[in-house]
Protein backbone atom coordinates (compact mmCIF):
# COMPACT_ATOMS: atom_id res chain seq x y z
CA UNK A 1 0.00 0.00 0.00
CA UNK A 2 2.90 2.28 0.75
CA UNK A 3 3.87 2.14 -2.91
CA UNK A 4 1.08 4.40 -4.06
CA UNK A 5 1.81 7.06 -1.47
CA UNK A 6 5.47 7.80 -1.31
CA UNK A 7 6.38 9.27 2.05
CA UNK A 8 7.91 12.33 0.40
CA UNK A 9 4.75 13.23 -1.54
CA UNK A 10 3.47 16.74 -1.11
CA UNK A 11 1.32 17.93 1.77
CA UNK A 12 -2.21 18.66 0.63
CA UNK A 13 -3.74 19.70 3.93
CA UNK A 14 -2.40 20.54 7.30
CA UNK A 15 -3.56 21.19 10.84
CA UNK A 16 -1.21 23.52 12.76
CA UNK A 17 -1.81 23.73 16.48
CA UNK A 18 -5.54 23.52 15.91
CA UNK A 19 -7.77 23.81 18.96
CA UNK A 20 -11.56 23.86 18.91
CA UNK A 21 -13.76 24.76 21.85
CA UNK A 22 -17.55 24.56 22.00
CA UNK A 23 -18.23 26.71 25.04
CA UNK A 24 -16.55 24.82 27.85
CA UNK A 25 -16.08 21.64 25.83
CA UNK A 26 -12.59 21.19 24.44
CA UNK A 27 -13.39 19.13 21.34
CA UNK A 28 -9.94 19.32 19.72
CA UNK A 29 -6.71 20.33 21.38
CA UNK A 30 -3.48 21.38 19.66
CA UNK A 31 -3.84 19.11 16.63
CA UNK A 32 -0.78 18.96 14.39
CA UNK A 33 -1.04 16.83 11.28
CA UNK A 34 0.10 16.85 7.67
CA UNK A 35 -2.10 15.06 5.18
CA UNK A 36 -0.17 13.86 2.13
CA UNK A 37 -1.47 14.02 -1.38
CA UNK A 38 -3.06 10.75 -2.50
CA UNK A 39 -2.94 8.98 0.85
CA UNK A 40 -5.69 7.20 2.72
CA UNK A 41 -5.64 8.63 6.24
CA UNK A 42 -7.92 7.57 9.07
CA UNK A 43 -8.83 9.32 12.28
CA UNK A 44 -9.31 6.53 14.82
CA UNK A 45 -10.57 6.87 18.36
CA UNK A 46 -13.52 6.17 20.62
CA UNK A 47 -16.76 8.11 20.29
CA UNK A 48 -16.49 11.71 21.46
CA UNK A 49 -12.72 12.04 21.05
CA UNK A 50 -13.00 14.82 18.46
CA UNK A 51 -12.70 12.99 15.14
CA UNK A 52 -15.76 14.56 13.57
CA UNK A 53 -14.72 17.98 14.83
CA UNK A 54 -11.34 17.61 13.11
CA UNK A 55 -13.06 16.56 9.89
CA UNK A 56 -15.55 19.40 10.05
CA UNK A 57 -12.73 21.91 10.35
CA UNK A 58 -11.19 20.47 7.19
CA UNK A 59 -14.57 20.68 5.45
CA UNK A 60 -15.16 24.27 6.55
CA UNK A 61 -18.20 23.75 8.76
CA UNK A 62 -16.29 24.81 11.86
CA UNK A 63 -13.51 27.36 12.24
CA UNK A 64 -10.69 26.55 14.69
CA UNK A 65 -10.65 28.47 17.96
CA UNK A 66 -6.86 28.55 17.78
CA UNK A 67 -4.33 27.46 15.19
CA UNK A 68 -4.52 27.17 11.42
CA UNK A 69 -6.09 24.85 8.89
CA UNK A 70 -4.17 24.79 5.61
CA UNK A 71 -5.28 23.51 2.24
CA UNK A 72 -2.69 23.36 -0.52
CA UNK A 73 -0.43 25.61 1.53
CA UNK A 74 -3.00 28.35 2.14
CA UNK A 75 -4.54 29.15 5.52
CA UNK A 76 -8.28 28.57 5.09
CA UNK A 77 -9.54 28.99 8.66
CA UNK A 78 -12.44 31.21 7.69
CA UNK A 79 -12.98 30.02 4.13
CA UNK A 80 -16.56 28.76 3.96
CA UNK A 81 -17.33 25.20 2.94
CA UNK A 82 -18.74 26.15 -0.45
CA UNK A 83 -15.43 27.72 -1.45
CA UNK A 84 -13.27 24.72 -0.49
CA UNK A 85 -12.16 22.06 -2.97
CA UNK A 86 -13.15 19.45 -0.41
CA UNK A 87 -16.14 17.12 -0.30
CA UNK A 88 -17.66 15.08 2.45
CA UNK A 89 -19.60 11.84 2.73
CA UNK A 90 -21.88 12.42 5.70
CA UNK A 91 -22.50 9.93 8.48
CA UNK A 92 -26.18 9.41 7.57
CA UNK A 93 -25.43 10.34 3.93
CA UNK A 94 -27.56 13.54 3.98
CA UNK A 95 -28.93 12.89 0.50
CA UNK A 96 -31.47 15.40 -0.81
CA UNK A 97 -34.84 13.66 -0.45
CA UNK A 98 -36.61 15.76 -3.07
CA UNK A 99 -34.15 14.92 -5.83
CA UNK A 100 -33.55 11.81 -7.89
CA UNK A 101 -30.31 9.88 -7.71
CA UNK A 102 -28.99 11.73 -10.78
CA UNK A 103 -30.02 15.13 -9.42
CA UNK A 104 -28.27 14.37 -6.16
CA UNK A 105 -25.07 13.32 -7.86
CA UNK A 106 -25.08 16.21 -10.32
CA UNK A 107 -25.71 18.76 -7.56
CA UNK A 108 -22.08 19.79 -7.16
CA UNK A 109 -21.59 20.22 -10.91
CA UNK A 110 -24.77 22.31 -11.16
CA UNK A 111 -23.33 24.83 -8.68
CA UNK A 112 -20.32 25.54 -10.92
CA UNK A 113 -20.02 28.96 -12.52
CA UNK A 114 -19.75 29.38 -15.45
CA UNK A 115 -22.50 26.81 -15.88
CA UNK A 116 -21.62 23.43 -17.34
CA UNK A 117 -23.75 22.23 -20.26
CA UNK A 118 -26.61 19.94 -19.18
CA UNK A 119 -25.45 17.08 -21.43
CA UNK A 120 -21.97 17.22 -19.93
CA UNK A 121 -23.40 16.97 -16.41
CA UNK A 122 -25.71 14.09 -17.37
CA UNK A 123 -22.82 12.31 -19.02
CA UNK A 124 -20.56 12.68 -16.02
CA UNK A 125 -23.32 11.58 -13.65
CA UNK A 126 -23.81 8.36 -15.64
CA UNK A 127 -20.09 7.68 -15.65
CA UNK A 128 -19.82 8.26 -11.91
CA UNK A 129 -22.81 5.99 -11.31
CA UNK A 130 -20.91 3.29 -13.23
CA UNK A 131 -17.89 3.85 -11.00
CA UNK A 132 -19.94 3.17 -7.86
CA UNK A 133 -21.71 0.29 -9.62
CA UNK A 134 -25.11 1.90 -9.78
CA UNK A 135 -25.30 2.28 -13.55
CA UNK A 136 -28.87 2.90 -14.74
CA UNK A 137 -30.18 4.11 -11.39
CA UNK A 138 -30.32 7.76 -12.53
CA UNK A 139 -34.06 8.30 -12.14
CA UNK A 140 -34.59 6.41 -8.91
CA UNK A 141 -35.88 8.26 -5.90
CA UNK A 142 -33.62 8.30 -2.88
CA UNK A 143 -36.10 6.47 -0.67
CA UNK A 144 -36.27 3.64 -3.19
CA UNK A 145 -32.60 2.86 -2.57
CA UNK A 146 -31.29 0.49 0.09
CA UNK A 147 -28.84 1.66 2.75
CA UNK A 148 -25.85 0.34 0.82
CA UNK A 149 -27.04 1.95 -2.39
CA UNK A 150 -27.65 5.27 -0.66
CA UNK A 151 -24.11 5.16 0.56
CA UNK A 152 -22.84 4.71 -2.98
CA UNK A 153 -24.95 7.66 -4.08
CA UNK A 154 -23.43 9.76 -1.31
CA UNK A 155 -19.98 8.65 -2.44
CA UNK A 156 -20.74 9.40 -6.09
CA UNK A 157 -22.15 12.82 -5.16
CA UNK A 158 -18.81 13.67 -3.55
CA UNK A 159 -16.28 12.15 -5.95
CA UNK A 160 -17.91 13.54 -9.10
CA UNK A 161 -16.48 16.93 -8.08
CA UNK A 162 -12.93 15.53 -8.07
CA UNK A 163 -12.16 17.11 -4.69
CA UNK A 164 -8.63 17.58 -3.40
CA UNK A 165 -9.76 15.90 -0.20
CA UNK A 166 -12.57 13.43 0.28
CA UNK A 167 -13.78 13.38 3.86
CA UNK A 168 -15.73 10.36 5.10
CA UNK A 169 -17.41 10.46 8.50
CA UNK A 170 -18.02 6.89 9.67
CA UNK A 171 -19.44 6.07 6.25
CA UNK A 172 -19.93 2.41 7.01
CA UNK A 173 -21.42 2.68 10.49
CA UNK A 174 -24.98 2.11 9.29
CA UNK A 175 -24.20 -0.92 7.10
CA UNK A 176 -24.39 -4.53 8.21
CA UNK A 177 -21.17 -6.45 8.69
CA UNK A 178 -21.01 -8.19 5.35
CA UNK A 179 -21.83 -5.10 3.34
CA UNK A 180 -19.30 -3.14 5.38
CA UNK A 181 -16.50 -5.53 4.43
CA UNK A 182 -17.45 -5.24 0.75
CA UNK A 183 -17.60 -1.46 0.91
CA UNK A 184 -14.22 -1.29 2.64
CA UNK A 185 -12.62 -3.10 -0.25
CA UNK A 186 -14.49 -1.01 -2.80
CA UNK A 187 -13.50 2.22 -1.09
CA UNK A 188 -9.85 1.22 -1.19
CA UNK A 189 -10.11 0.30 -4.87
CA UNK A 190 -11.83 3.56 -5.59
CA UNK A 191 -9.20 5.54 -3.79
CA UNK A 192 -6.38 3.94 -5.78
CA UNK A 193 -8.31 4.33 -9.02
CA UNK A 194 -9.12 8.02 -8.49
CA UNK A 195 -5.95 9.05 -6.68
CA UNK A 196 -8.01 11.36 -4.45
CA UNK A 197 -6.78 11.90 -0.89
CA UNK A 198 -9.21 10.16 1.49
CA UNK A 199 -9.64 11.16 5.11
CA UNK A 200 -11.79 8.68 6.98
CA UNK A 201 -13.22 8.93 10.47
CA UNK A 202 -13.93 5.68 12.28
CA UNK A 203 -14.07 4.16 15.73
CA UNK A 204 -13.56 0.68 14.26
CA UNK A 205 -9.87 -0.29 14.56
CA UNK A 206 -10.24 -3.17 12.12
CA UNK A 207 -11.62 -0.79 9.51
CA UNK A 208 -8.82 1.70 10.05
CA UNK A 209 -6.11 -0.97 10.02
CA UNK A 210 -7.34 -2.66 6.87
CA UNK A 211 -7.94 0.46 4.77
CA UNK A 212 -5.50 3.17 5.73
CA UNK A 213 -2.03 4.15 4.62
CA UNK A 214 -1.73 6.07 7.85
CA UNK A 215 -3.80 6.24 11.00
CA UNK A 216 -4.11 9.19 13.33
CA UNK A 217 -5.09 7.95 16.77
CA UNK A 218 -7.07 10.40 18.85
CA UNK A 219 -7.97 10.55 22.49
CA UNK A 220 -9.89 13.24 24.39
CA UNK A 221 -9.42 15.78 21.60
CA UNK A 222 -5.68 15.16 21.22
CA UNK A 223 -3.68 13.28 18.62
CA UNK A 224 -1.85 10.48 20.40
CA UNK A 225 0.10 8.92 17.55
CA UNK A 226 0.24 9.03 13.78
CA UNK A 227 1.70 6.25 11.70
CA UNK A 228 1.16 3.39 9.30
CA UNK A 229 -0.89 0.48 10.63
CA UNK A 230 2.33 -1.54 10.99
CA UNK A 231 4.12 1.22 12.88
CA UNK A 232 1.23 1.63 15.27
CA UNK A 233 1.05 -2.10 15.81
CA UNK A 234 4.75 -2.66 16.26
CA UNK A 235 5.73 0.60 17.96
CA UNK A 236 2.74 2.01 19.83
CA UNK A 237 3.90 5.00 21.87
CA UNK A 238 1.54 4.41 24.77
CA UNK A 239 -0.53 1.76 26.40
CA UNK A 240 -3.62 3.51 24.97
CA UNK A 241 -2.44 2.96 21.39
CA UNK A 242 -1.25 -0.59 22.01
CA UNK A 243 -4.63 -1.39 23.47
CA UNK A 244 -6.56 0.30 20.68
CA UNK A 245 -4.60 -1.21 17.82
CA UNK A 246 -4.75 -4.98 18.09
CA UNK A 247 -4.63 -6.95 21.33
CA UNK A 248 -1.83 -6.86 23.84
CA UNK A 249 -0.90 -8.04 27.33
CA UNK A 250 0.09 -5.38 29.83
CA UNK A 251 2.17 -5.77 32.98
CA UNK A 252 2.52 -2.71 35.18
CA UNK A 253 5.79 -1.90 36.87
CA UNK A 254 8.43 0.70 37.67
CA UNK A 255 11.59 1.54 35.78
CA UNK A 256 14.51 -0.05 37.59
CA UNK A 257 17.39 0.62 35.24
CA UNK A 258 17.40 2.84 32.17
CA UNK A 259 21.13 3.00 31.45
CA UNK A 260 21.45 0.59 28.55
CA UNK A 261 19.69 0.23 25.26
CA UNK A 262 17.08 -1.85 27.01
CA UNK A 263 15.14 -0.68 30.02
CA UNK A 264 14.75 -2.95 33.00
CA UNK A 265 11.36 -2.81 34.63
CA UNK A 266 10.53 -4.12 38.06
CA UNK A 267 7.06 -5.64 37.78
CA UNK A 268 4.65 -5.41 40.66
CA UNK A 269 5.54 -8.94 41.82
CA UNK A 270 9.21 -8.02 42.08
CA UNK A 271 10.12 -9.77 38.84
CA UNK A 272 12.61 -7.91 36.64
CA UNK A 273 11.84 -7.77 32.92
CA UNK A 274 13.80 -6.11 30.14
CA UNK A 275 12.09 -4.28 27.32
CA UNK A 276 12.46 -1.72 24.57
CA UNK A 277 11.39 1.79 25.57
CA UNK A 278 9.01 3.47 23.12
CA UNK A 279 7.83 7.05 23.29
CA UNK A 280 8.36 9.31 26.27
CA UNK A 281 8.27 7.67 29.64
CA UNK A 282 6.89 9.75 32.45
CA UNK A 283 9.44 10.80 35.04
CA UNK A 284 7.83 8.92 37.91
CA UNK A 285 8.86 5.73 36.13
CA UNK A 286 5.36 4.27 36.33
CA UNK A 287 5.30 2.21 33.16
CA UNK A 288 3.70 -0.81 31.61
CA UNK A 289 5.27 -3.63 29.66
CA UNK A 290 3.31 -4.55 26.55
CA UNK A 291 3.76 -7.90 24.85
CA UNK A 292 1.56 -9.01 21.94
CA UNK A 293 0.08 -12.51 22.44
CA UNK A 294 1.70 -13.78 19.24
CA UNK A 295 5.15 -12.67 20.44
CA UNK A 296 4.93 -15.00 23.42
CA UNK A 297 5.86 -18.65 23.28
CA UNK A 298 4.79 -21.50 25.51
CA UNK A 299 7.32 -24.13 26.62
CA UNK A 300 7.31 -27.16 28.88
CA UNK A 301 10.50 -26.01 30.62
CA UNK A 302 13.18 -23.33 30.56
CA UNK A 303 13.40 -19.67 31.65
CA UNK A 304 10.33 -17.52 31.86
CA UNK A 305 7.08 -17.03 33.71
CA UNK A 306 5.58 -20.14 35.23
CA UNK A 307 1.89 -20.22 34.36
CA UNK A 308 -1.08 -22.51 34.33
CA UNK A 309 -3.23 -22.92 31.22
CA UNK A 310 -6.79 -21.80 31.96
CA UNK A 311 -8.43 -22.01 28.57
CA UNK A 312 -7.58 -23.06 25.05
CA UNK A 313 -9.29 -21.92 21.88
CA UNK A 314 -8.32 -23.59 18.63
CA UNK A 315 -8.41 -21.00 15.83
CA UNK A 316 -6.97 -23.07 12.96
CA UNK A 317 -3.73 -21.34 12.13
CA UNK A 318 -3.28 -20.36 15.75
CA UNK A 319 -4.33 -21.54 19.13
CA UNK A 320 -5.20 -18.95 21.73
CA UNK A 321 -4.29 -19.83 25.30
CA UNK A 322 -5.55 -17.98 28.31
CA UNK A 323 -2.90 -18.51 30.97
CA UNK A 324 -2.66 -17.48 34.60
CA UNK A 325 0.41 -16.30 36.47
CA UNK A 326 0.17 -16.28 40.25
CA UNK A 327 1.18 -12.63 40.62
CA UNK A 328 0.53 -11.15 37.17
CA UNK A 329 -2.94 -12.57 36.61
CA UNK A 330 -4.49 -13.75 33.36
CA UNK A 331 -3.08 -13.01 29.92
CA UNK A 332 -3.22 -14.33 26.36
CA UNK A 333 -0.69 -16.34 24.37
CA UNK A 334 -1.14 -17.06 20.68
CA UNK A 335 0.71 -20.16 19.48
CA UNK A 336 1.19 -20.87 15.80
CA UNK A 337 -0.11 -24.27 14.68
CA UNK A 338 3.41 -25.22 13.65
CA UNK A 339 4.85 -25.00 17.15
CA UNK A 340 1.97 -27.03 18.51
CA UNK A 341 2.71 -29.73 15.99
CA UNK A 342 6.36 -29.90 17.12
CA UNK A 343 5.99 -29.23 20.85
CA UNK A 344 2.56 -30.73 21.32
CA UNK A 345 -0.49 -28.84 22.51
CA UNK A 346 -1.12 -27.78 26.09
CA UNK A 347 -4.31 -28.77 27.82
CA UNK A 348 -6.37 -26.85 30.36
CA UNK A 349 -4.69 -27.15 33.77
CA UNK A 350 -1.22 -27.88 32.34
CA UNK A 351 1.79 -26.08 33.81
CA UNK A 352 3.80 -24.12 31.23
CA UNK A 353 6.58 -21.58 30.87
CA UNK A 354 5.94 -18.36 28.93
CA UNK A 355 8.81 -16.43 27.39
CA UNK A 356 9.44 -13.71 24.83
CA UNK A 357 12.28 -11.83 23.20
CA UNK A 358 13.43 -8.65 24.94
CA UNK A 359 12.71 -6.76 21.72
CA UNK A 360 9.06 -7.91 21.80
CA UNK A 361 8.50 -6.32 25.20
CA UNK A 362 7.70 -2.64 24.83
CA UNK A 363 8.08 -0.31 27.78
CA UNK A 364 5.22 2.16 27.51
CA UNK A 365 3.70 5.08 29.30
CA UNK A 366 0.98 3.61 31.47
CA UNK A 367 -1.76 6.06 30.41
Amino acid sequence: MGACTPADSKTIAELRGVTKRFGDVLAASDLNLSIREGEFLSFLGPSGCGKTTALRMLAGFEAPTEGDVLLDGDVVNDLEAHHRPVNMVFQQYALFPHMTVAQNIGYGLRQRRPRLPKEQIADKVSKTLEVVQLGGFEDRKIWEMSGGQQQRVALARAIINEPKLLLLDEPMAALDRKLRKEMQIELQDLQRQLGITFVLVTHDQEEALSMSDRICIMRDGRIVQVGSPQELYDRPNSRYVADFVGTSNFFDGKVADQSGELTTVCLNNGLHVRGTPVGELISSGEVTISVRPEQMTLHRQGDGLAVEVRNRIFLGEHTEYLVNHEALGDFLVLSPRQSELTEGAFGVGDKAIVSWEDSAALVLDRN
Binding site: F96, M99, Y107
Partner: protein, 283 residues
Protein backbone atom coordinates in the same frame (compact mmCIF):
# COMPACT_ATOMS: atom_id res chain seq x y z
CA UNK B 1 -65.32 -6.39 18.01
CA UNK B 2 -64.34 -6.70 14.38
CA UNK B 3 -61.88 -4.31 12.83
CA UNK B 4 -64.71 -2.96 10.71
CA UNK B 5 -66.93 -1.96 13.59
CA UNK B 6 -63.96 -0.52 15.41
CA UNK B 7 -63.15 1.67 12.44
CA UNK B 8 -66.76 2.83 12.28
CA UNK B 9 -66.72 3.67 15.96
CA UNK B 10 -63.56 5.70 15.49
CA UNK B 11 -65.18 7.69 12.72
CA UNK B 12 -68.60 8.03 14.31
CA UNK B 13 -68.11 11.17 16.47
CA UNK B 14 -66.48 13.19 13.70
CA UNK B 15 -68.93 11.82 11.16
CA UNK B 16 -71.94 12.79 13.24
CA UNK B 17 -70.51 16.24 13.85
CA UNK B 18 -69.81 16.65 10.17
CA UNK B 19 -73.36 15.62 9.26
CA UNK B 20 -75.14 17.75 11.84
CA UNK B 21 -73.00 20.85 11.68
CA UNK B 22 -72.04 20.93 8.02
CA UNK B 23 -74.01 18.78 5.61
CA UNK B 24 -77.50 19.49 7.00
CA UNK B 25 -77.05 23.29 7.32
CA UNK B 26 -75.48 23.44 3.86
CA UNK B 27 -78.38 21.51 2.41
CA UNK B 28 -80.84 23.83 4.12
CA UNK B 29 -79.01 26.89 2.82
CA UNK B 30 -78.88 25.36 -0.65
CA UNK B 31 -82.67 24.79 -0.62
CA UNK B 32 -83.35 28.27 0.81
CA UNK B 33 -81.31 29.87 -1.97
CA UNK B 34 -83.98 28.92 -4.47
CA UNK B 35 -86.78 30.32 -2.31
CA UNK B 36 -88.33 33.76 -1.98
CA UNK B 37 -88.23 36.34 0.77
CA UNK B 38 -91.20 36.18 3.12
CA UNK B 39 -92.81 39.57 3.82
CA UNK B 40 -91.91 39.40 7.52
CA UNK B 41 -88.37 38.11 6.83
CA UNK B 42 -87.39 34.46 6.60
CA UNK B 43 -88.05 32.40 3.51
CA UNK B 44 -90.98 31.11 1.44
CA UNK B 45 -90.20 27.81 -0.31
CA UNK B 46 -90.10 28.14 -4.08
CA UNK B 47 -87.93 27.27 -7.05
CA UNK B 48 -86.65 30.45 -8.57
CA UNK B 49 -83.25 31.73 -9.68
CA UNK B 50 -84.24 35.25 -8.76
CA UNK B 51 -81.83 35.40 -5.81
CA UNK B 52 -78.89 34.31 -7.96
CA UNK B 53 -79.85 36.86 -10.62
CA UNK B 54 -79.54 39.52 -7.90
CA UNK B 55 -75.97 38.56 -6.96
CA UNK B 56 -74.32 41.47 -8.84
CA UNK B 57 -75.85 43.79 -6.24
CA UNK B 58 -73.31 42.32 -3.79
CA UNK B 59 -70.43 42.40 -6.25
CA UNK B 60 -68.35 44.74 -4.06
CA UNK B 61 -68.30 42.22 -1.19
CA UNK B 62 -67.11 39.44 -3.51
CA UNK B 63 -64.54 41.70 -5.09
CA UNK B 64 -63.14 42.75 -1.71
CA UNK B 65 -63.02 39.17 -0.46
CA UNK B 66 -61.42 37.84 -3.62
CA UNK B 67 -58.72 40.53 -3.64
CA UNK B 68 -57.96 41.00 0.04
CA UNK B 69 -57.99 37.27 0.91
CA UNK B 70 -55.23 36.33 -1.59
CA UNK B 71 -53.27 39.53 -0.95
CA UNK B 72 -53.60 38.97 2.81
CA UNK B 73 -52.49 35.35 2.46
CA UNK B 74 -49.48 36.28 0.35
CA UNK B 75 -48.47 39.13 2.63
CA UNK B 76 -48.78 36.88 5.67
CA UNK B 77 -46.61 34.30 3.87
CA UNK B 78 -43.93 36.86 3.03
CA UNK B 79 -43.81 38.07 6.62
CA UNK B 80 -44.19 34.64 8.24
CA UNK B 81 -41.53 32.81 6.23
CA UNK B 82 -38.48 34.78 7.39
CA UNK B 83 -39.80 34.64 10.94
CA UNK B 84 -40.39 30.88 10.81
CA UNK B 85 -36.98 30.45 9.16
CA UNK B 86 -35.28 32.39 11.89
CA UNK B 87 -37.10 30.44 14.59
CA UNK B 88 -36.37 27.04 13.08
CA UNK B 89 -32.89 27.47 11.65
CA UNK B 90 -31.09 30.42 13.20
CA UNK B 91 -32.26 30.95 16.77
CA UNK B 92 -30.60 29.22 19.70
CA UNK B 93 -32.67 26.53 21.45
CA UNK B 94 -33.22 28.80 24.45
CA UNK B 95 -34.54 31.72 22.41
CA UNK B 96 -36.55 29.44 20.17
CA UNK B 97 -39.01 28.54 22.93
CA UNK B 98 -39.37 32.13 24.11
CA UNK B 99 -39.97 33.41 20.59
CA UNK B 100 -42.46 30.65 19.82
CA UNK B 101 -44.44 31.57 22.92
CA UNK B 102 -44.37 35.21 21.83
CA UNK B 103 -45.86 34.18 18.50
CA UNK B 104 -48.77 32.50 20.30
CA UNK B 105 -49.30 35.20 22.95
CA UNK B 106 -51.76 37.24 20.81
CA UNK B 107 -54.07 34.21 20.82
CA UNK B 108 -54.50 34.62 24.55
CA UNK B 109 -56.76 37.60 24.06
CA UNK B 110 -59.81 37.76 21.84
CA UNK B 111 -59.42 38.97 18.27
CA UNK B 112 -62.10 41.53 19.09
CA UNK B 113 -59.97 43.21 21.74
CA UNK B 114 -56.88 43.07 19.58
CA UNK B 115 -58.76 44.61 16.68
CA UNK B 116 -59.89 47.45 18.90
CA UNK B 117 -56.24 48.11 19.64
CA UNK B 118 -55.70 48.44 15.92
CA UNK B 119 -58.68 50.78 15.62
CA UNK B 120 -56.86 53.10 17.97
CA UNK B 121 -53.44 52.64 16.32
CA UNK B 122 -54.74 53.25 12.82
CA UNK B 123 -57.27 55.87 13.88
CA UNK B 124 -56.80 59.62 13.86
CA UNK B 125 -54.94 59.75 17.20
CA UNK B 126 -52.67 56.81 16.40
CA UNK B 127 -50.15 56.43 13.61
CA UNK B 128 -51.53 59.35 11.52
CA UNK B 129 -50.97 61.65 14.52
CA UNK B 130 -47.37 60.45 14.77
CA UNK B 131 -46.90 61.03 11.06
CA UNK B 132 -48.19 64.57 11.48
CA UNK B 133 -45.47 65.19 14.06
CA UNK B 134 -42.85 64.50 11.40
CA UNK B 135 -44.69 66.64 8.91
CA UNK B 136 -46.69 64.10 6.92
CA UNK B 137 -50.27 65.35 7.01
CA UNK B 138 -53.62 64.03 5.95
CA UNK B 139 -52.91 60.31 6.09
CA UNK B 140 -56.06 58.29 6.62
CA UNK B 141 -55.60 54.68 7.58
CA UNK B 142 -58.66 53.49 9.45
CA UNK B 143 -61.62 52.29 7.35
CA UNK B 144 -59.44 51.67 4.29
CA UNK B 145 -58.53 48.38 2.57
CA UNK B 146 -55.05 48.93 4.01
CA UNK B 147 -56.44 48.88 7.55
CA UNK B 148 -58.30 45.65 6.83
CA UNK B 149 -55.14 44.14 5.34
CA UNK B 150 -53.12 45.11 8.40
CA UNK B 151 -55.73 43.52 10.65
CA UNK B 152 -55.83 40.37 8.55
CA UNK B 153 -52.06 39.92 8.47
CA UNK B 154 -51.80 40.59 12.17
CA UNK B 155 -54.59 38.19 13.05
CA UNK B 156 -53.56 35.33 10.82
CA UNK B 157 -49.77 35.52 11.02
CA UNK B 158 -49.39 32.80 13.69
CA UNK B 159 -51.50 30.41 11.60
CA UNK B 160 -49.01 30.93 8.78
CA UNK B 161 -45.91 30.82 10.96
CA UNK B 162 -46.59 27.48 12.62
CA UNK B 163 -46.92 25.10 9.66
CA UNK B 164 -43.88 26.70 8.02
CA UNK B 165 -41.94 26.55 11.27
CA UNK B 166 -42.74 22.85 11.64
CA UNK B 167 -41.59 21.99 8.12
CA UNK B 168 -38.39 24.01 8.53
CA UNK B 169 -37.72 22.64 11.99
CA UNK B 170 -37.85 19.03 10.88
CA UNK B 171 -35.61 19.82 7.91
CA UNK B 172 -32.35 17.94 8.42
CA UNK B 173 -29.74 20.69 8.91
CA UNK B 174 -27.05 18.43 7.51
CA UNK B 175 -28.74 18.76 4.13
CA UNK B 176 -27.83 22.44 4.26
CA UNK B 177 -24.25 21.56 5.11
CA UNK B 178 -24.17 18.99 2.32
CA UNK B 179 -25.38 21.62 -0.12
CA UNK B 180 -22.73 24.07 1.01
CA UNK B 181 -20.12 21.32 0.90
CA UNK B 182 -21.03 20.70 -2.74
CA UNK B 183 -20.31 24.32 -3.57
CA UNK B 184 -23.71 26.02 -3.29
CA UNK B 185 -23.66 29.59 -2.02
CA UNK B 186 -26.08 30.25 0.89
CA UNK B 187 -28.69 31.79 -1.36
CA UNK B 188 -28.62 28.82 -3.74
CA UNK B 189 -28.84 26.42 -0.82
CA UNK B 190 -31.98 28.23 0.25
CA UNK B 191 -33.54 28.07 -3.20
CA UNK B 192 -32.59 24.48 -3.96
CA UNK B 193 -32.93 22.79 -0.58
CA UNK B 194 -34.67 24.83 2.12
CA UNK B 195 -37.48 26.28 0.04
CA UNK B 196 -38.52 23.09 -1.80
CA UNK B 197 -38.45 21.09 1.40
CA UNK B 198 -40.65 23.62 3.19
CA UNK B 199 -43.35 23.62 0.51
CA UNK B 200 -45.65 21.37 2.58
CA UNK B 201 -45.58 23.96 5.36
CA UNK B 202 -46.16 26.83 2.94
CA UNK B 203 -49.05 24.98 1.29
CA UNK B 204 -50.70 24.15 4.59
CA UNK B 205 -50.28 27.67 5.97
CA UNK B 206 -51.62 29.34 2.83
CA UNK B 207 -54.60 27.02 2.64
CA UNK B 208 -55.47 27.50 6.28
CA UNK B 209 -55.23 31.28 6.15
CA UNK B 210 -56.94 31.62 2.77
CA UNK B 211 -59.96 29.50 3.65
CA UNK B 212 -60.45 31.27 6.97
CA UNK B 213 -60.04 34.67 5.27
CA UNK B 214 -62.75 33.89 2.74
CA UNK B 215 -65.24 33.66 5.60
CA UNK B 216 -63.81 36.57 7.63
CA UNK B 217 -66.19 39.29 8.78
CA UNK B 218 -64.99 40.62 12.13
CA UNK B 219 -61.83 42.39 10.94
CA UNK B 220 -63.51 44.15 7.97
CA UNK B 221 -66.40 45.13 10.23
CA UNK B 222 -64.07 46.73 12.80
CA UNK B 223 -61.24 48.12 10.68
CA UNK B 224 -63.14 48.63 7.43
CA UNK B 225 -65.87 50.65 9.18
CA UNK B 226 -68.59 49.55 6.76
CA UNK B 227 -66.59 50.87 3.81
CA UNK B 228 -64.50 47.78 3.19
CA UNK B 229 -66.69 44.73 3.63
CA UNK B 230 -66.30 41.04 2.86
CA UNK B 231 -68.90 38.47 1.80
CA UNK B 232 -69.03 37.53 5.46
CA UNK B 233 -70.29 41.01 6.30
CA UNK B 234 -72.90 40.81 3.56
CA UNK B 235 -74.12 37.54 5.07
CA UNK B 236 -74.39 39.00 8.55
CA UNK B 237 -76.29 41.87 7.09
CA UNK B 238 -78.66 39.72 5.01
CA UNK B 239 -79.41 37.12 7.67
CA UNK B 240 -79.51 39.25 10.80
CA UNK B 241 -80.39 42.79 9.72
CA UNK B 242 -82.53 42.68 6.59
CA UNK B 243 -83.65 39.11 7.31
CA UNK B 244 -83.56 38.27 3.60
CA UNK B 245 -82.72 34.62 4.12
CA UNK B 246 -83.28 33.51 0.56
CA UNK B 247 -80.91 36.08 -0.88
CA UNK B 248 -78.43 35.50 1.94
CA UNK B 249 -78.50 31.78 1.15
CA UNK B 250 -77.75 32.44 -2.49
CA UNK B 251 -74.77 34.60 -1.49
CA UNK B 252 -73.59 31.91 0.92
CA UNK B 253 -73.88 29.14 -1.69
CA UNK B 254 -71.94 31.26 -4.16
CA UNK B 255 -69.19 31.86 -1.60
CA UNK B 256 -68.91 28.13 -0.90
CA UNK B 257 -68.72 27.36 -4.63
CA UNK B 258 -66.07 30.03 -5.23
CA UNK B 259 -64.09 28.67 -2.29
CA UNK B 260 -64.33 25.09 -3.53
CA UNK B 261 -63.17 26.06 -7.00
CA UNK B 262 -60.24 28.10 -5.68
CA UNK B 263 -59.12 25.38 -3.32
CA UNK B 264 -59.38 22.67 -5.99
CA UNK B 265 -57.29 24.69 -8.43
CA UNK B 266 -54.78 25.39 -5.67
CA UNK B 267 -54.49 21.70 -4.72
CA UNK B 268 -53.95 20.76 -8.34
CA UNK B 269 -51.14 23.30 -8.60
CA UNK B 270 -49.45 22.17 -5.40
CA UNK B 271 -49.69 18.53 -6.32
CA UNK B 272 -48.30 19.16 -9.75
CA UNK B 273 -45.41 20.97 -8.09
CA UNK B 274 -44.92 17.97 -5.84
CA UNK B 275 -45.52 15.34 -8.54
CA UNK B 276 -41.80 14.93 -9.21
CA UNK B 277 -41.08 14.92 -5.49
CA UNK B 278 -43.59 12.72 -3.68
CA UNK B 279 -42.36 13.71 -0.26
CA UNK B 280 -43.49 17.30 -0.59
CA UNK B 281 -46.95 16.64 -2.00
CA UNK B 282 -49.60 17.45 0.55
CA UNK B 283 -52.45 15.20 -0.46
Amino acid sequence: MTRRTRNWLLLAPAGTWFLVMLIIPLTVVFIFSFGERAPAGGVVPAFTFEQYANLPARWAAFKNTMTLAPIGTLSALLIAYPLAYYLAVKSSPKWKTILLVLVIVPFWTSILIRSYAWIFLLGGRGIPALLELVGIEGVRLINTPFAVLVGIIYGYLPLMVFPIYVSLDKLDKRLLEASSDLGAKPWRTFLQITLPLSIPGIATGCMLVFILLMGEYLIPALLGGGKVFFVGNALVDLFLQSRNWAYGSAVAVTLVVVMLITVTVYMRLINRLGASREDVSIM
